[in-house]
């Protein structure tokens, strides 16, 4: 992967930051300015409900050194309405992005074996109309990029890719932790600097 070369030269690599927050107006801004203040570009940002009602989950992808990411994670977790922040390399997570491709139906039907195209790219047709067809594929960046290349000669009209969503391999969810947070007196389980024990497995503060 190009990433491994990159990390040797610049020390930078892709990190996925996962933040559990209260679902409140303004928290997106509070988190976003932590990056913009340091002139760090957010490559991908997804916010969604989490496995727990009323708690939101942010997935933020940036390209940085681990040292920078660790400091950013601490700054995010410092925000009053952020419950917990983790950061992970691509090896630590299962991640997906979804993409939609709109192409003219006549060209695609005439010139391509649609069935083969779908099969080879793990794609499916979402809508087939007289004038246009929309395909969908889910996967890593390279996979969704590949279908763009394939479709480009057939008059790709529109393309859109979603933000990354990611699941942390080595995590036992947030439910247990949340119960501790809701207790007035913190229990032994909530140890903010536990990352010092688990080292590389899970970052947590």
């Amino acid at each position: 992967m190009s990433n491994s070369n990159d990390i040797e030269i610049t020390g930078k690599q892709e990190f996925t930051i996962t933040a559990y927050t209260e679902n409140r107006i303004g928290i997106l801004n509070r988190i976003a300015i932590i990056f913009s203040r340091r002139k760090i570009n957010i490559e991908s940002l997804n916010t969604s409900p989490s496995e727990i009602e009323h708690i939101h989950r942010f997935n933020i992808v940036i390209h940085e050194t681990e040292e920078v990411v660790r400091k950013l994670a601490r700054q995010i977790e410092k925000q009053v309405e952020v419950l917990k922040v983790y950061y992970n390399t691509n090896e630590d997570i299962i991640w997906q992005e979804m993409a939609l491709y709109k192409v003219p139906t006549d060209t695609i039907a005439e010139k391509v074996s649609v069935e083969r195209l779908l099969r080879e790219n793990g794609a499916r047709a979402v809508v087939i109309r007289k004038d246009y067809t929309v395909f969908e594929t889910t996967g890593h960046r390279e996979e969704t990029d590949k279908l763009i290349e394939v479709l480009q000669p057939y008059g790709l009209i529109e393309f859109v890719r979603s933000a990354r969503v990611a699941i942390i391999k080595d995590s036992d969810g947030f439910n247990r932790k949340l119960r501790e947070f809701e207790r007035r007196e913190p229990g032994e389980d909530v140890i903010e600097n536990e990352f010092l024990d688990k080292e590389k497995n899970v970052f947590s503060m």
């Binding site: 107006i25 400091k71 009053v80 909530v190 903010e192």
Partner: protein, 579 residues
């Protein structure tokens, strides 16, 4: 709070409610939080709150400032001397934007403050209504927390949250923006319940025993340990715990400017000030100690100088309540997360009673050099123009170190911090992180309200004074007793010093003229005097201190005088220059 009791009442009978306006609920909440003084300025969008305030004049003292920025600095001064939360009112639009400098100052200096701004009616939000501004988004980077209230029912709980957030953990400023309809809205008020838990907010990290043990082991084996302490000691009310730690371990301790006064200036283990204009020994010894113990300080660049040459030889123990500070600038070998009021006694218990006589003696030797080359000339010159240092020295002789010293920003600030004597904690009020010129005068007003029984002396330069001198009006109207000393060198002195040292004396726009400050004070019915001769200085300061009520003393000091020692920007702390 007794939760069981609360539950019992809710089970047996429904809570008694009264119908009140959002504004009344706000004022009731402030009183419940122990607020006695508000610094503020009315305007269109906050009028319902001011209308309610009319009936609360007996319980809540409102100080009308002359500019909202002055309100925030007064709130900061009040918070810093009293240890309570500063409260500031301002209207929407320009009133709210004028708070930004004070909020930024309070944010970087961890000052607990609750600012209430009025906002246009909720239905007008986003319509570019008269005096509408997006204060929540403008203030997000400079507040610990902020919130917009559009419904009166939210007011009690949001205010409770605001106070809890402002003063707990690492303190900071909080802003609540209340739309006019919410201020006016009548609702069923159930009384005020203080906040003591927010599930997403961990004000104090849990203390880890193993790090206390590791820290103690390092301290006990150290040959040349050195303590750096900051405002965290004051904010944690941990002065006694800190003193006990220092005295048991016998470790020399140096302070950041916001940590000044956490132990008395005269304490034998207090070896002086850190940083760019700090003392010689503390800066040099940072790079020769073997264990560096940082307590409630954040390794600001003005303290560390060049980071890649900062204390590389030392093992670093960092005590801080804010996890984000650990490893931010200087990597900690032992991170002691937690409130230093709790961690210091644990550390003291494990530390061995010691005296590092030879090591402390090294500091004394550096001090001797600094005394001979810098300090004596600065404090006791016999000829030439008055120096800022001798003014502070005279002031020390007369106040004996009991006064609250408030400074503005610049050369006078560095000189005052270096030479002012502090017997008590919460005595040095200055703008540390943000370096806000114009901070001094309004902060002194707030400092006096926060510590009415203490003498408050504001030391301000001729430049900074002109940034917020309209607050003389606040002094006049409130009748408060603040002593103001303007150290006038007819220059923006610190910038001029840099231009002299690093820009070939190209004095670009640092020459500043001033009005007749004594006449200016006089027009506000404030007594004053101007002094420029050495023989008159002592009597003039004495007269100022003994004057009943506020007094402005303008002292004409040397025009081109530099503050030394100095760690030039980009240099290591051990490359500190004595001249």
């Amino acid at each position: 709070m007794d939760t069981a009791h609360e539950e019992a009442t809710t089970l047996t009978e429904p809570k008694k409610t009264t119908t009140v306006s959002g504004s009344v609920a706000l004022l009731e909440g402030l009183i419940a939080e122990g607020t006695d003084t508000i610094f503020g300025y009315p305007g269109g969008a906050i009028m319902p709150i001011y209308d309610a305030l009319y009936d609360y004049k007996e319980k809540l003292q409102h100080i009308l400032v002359r500019h909202e920025q002055g309100g925030t600095h007064a709130g900061q001064g009040y918070a810093r001397t009293s240890g309570k939360v500063g409260v500031v009112f301002a209207t929407s639009g320009p009133g709210a934007t004028n708070l930004v400098t004070g909020l930024a100052d309070a944010q970087i200096d961890s000052t607990p403050m609750v600012c209430i701004t009025g906002q246009v009616f909720a239905h007008l939000l986003g319509t570019d209504a008269f005096q509408e501004t997006d204060v929540i988004n403008i203030t997000t980077p400079v507040t610990k927390w902020n919130y917009q209230v559009t419904d009166a029912n939210e007011i009690p709980s949001v205010l409770a949250k605001a106070f809890y957030i402002a003063r707990s953990g690492r303190p900071g400023p909080v802003l609540i923006d209340i739309t006019k309809n919410a201020q006016l809205q009548m609702f069923e008020y159930e009384g005020y319940t203080p906040c003591e838990h927010i599930r997403s907010y961990r004000p104090k990290p849990l203390i880890r025993k193993e790090y206390i043990e590791q820290a103690a082991a390092l301290i006990n084996s150290a040959k040349k340990p050195f303590i750096l302490f900051g405002q965290g000691v004051l904010l944690g009310n941990a002065e006694q715990e800190f003193k006990a730690f220092v005295e048991k371990t016998g470790i020399p301790a140096a302070w950041t400017i916001l940590g000044a006064g956490a132990i008395p200036t005269d304490h034998p283990l207090n070896v002086g000030m850190l940083g760019m204009h700090g003392n010689y020994g503390p800066n040099v010894q940072t790079n020769s100690c073997d264990v560096l113990i940082a307590i409630g300080m954040r390794f600001d660049d003005r303290v560390t100088g060049r980071l890649d040459k900062y204390a590389k030889q030392a093992k670093v123990i960092h005590l801080d309540i804010d996890p984000a500070e650990i490893d931010k600038n200087v990597k900690a070998d032992v991170p002691v997360w937690g409130d230093c009021k709790e961690t210091l006694p644990l550390l003291t218990a494990l530390a061995e009673q010691k005296e590092h006589t030879e090591w402390v003696e090294e500091f004394r030797a550096y001090d001797k050099t600094e005394q001979e080359t810098v300090i004596q000339k600065e404090l006791n010159p016999e000829t030439g123009e008055l120096t800022m240092g001798e003014v502070i020295n005279k002031l020390n002789e007369l106040t004996k170190g009991d006064a609250v010293i408030v400074t503005d920003v610049g050369q006078h600030q560095m000189v005052a911090c270096r030479y002012a004597k502090f017997n008590k904690t919460r005595s040095n009020i200055t703008s540390g992180g943000l370096g806000t010129m114009g901070f001094g005068l309004p902060a002194a007003i707030g400092a006096k309200f926060g510590a009415p029984d203490r003498t408050v002396v504001a030391i301000i330069g001729d430049g900074g004074f002109q940034m917020t001198c309209q607050e003389l009006g606040t002094i006049m109207q409130s009748g408060i007793d603040v002593k103001i000393m303007i150290l006038n060198n007819r220059f923006l002195g610190m910038v001029r010093q840099w231009q002299q040292l690093f820009h070939e004396k190209r004095y670009s726009f640092v020459d500043i003229t001033s009005p007749d400050f004594v006449k200016l004070a006089d027009s506000y019915y404030i007594a004053g005097k101007k002094v420029s001769e050495r023989e008159d200085l002592g009597a003039a300061i004495d007269e100022m201190l003994n004057h009943k009520g506020s007094y402005l003393l303008e002292v004409m000091v040397a025009k081109e005088h530099n503050v030394f020692p100095m760690v030039p920007q980009g240099s290591s702390v051990s490359e500190i220059r004595l001249k």
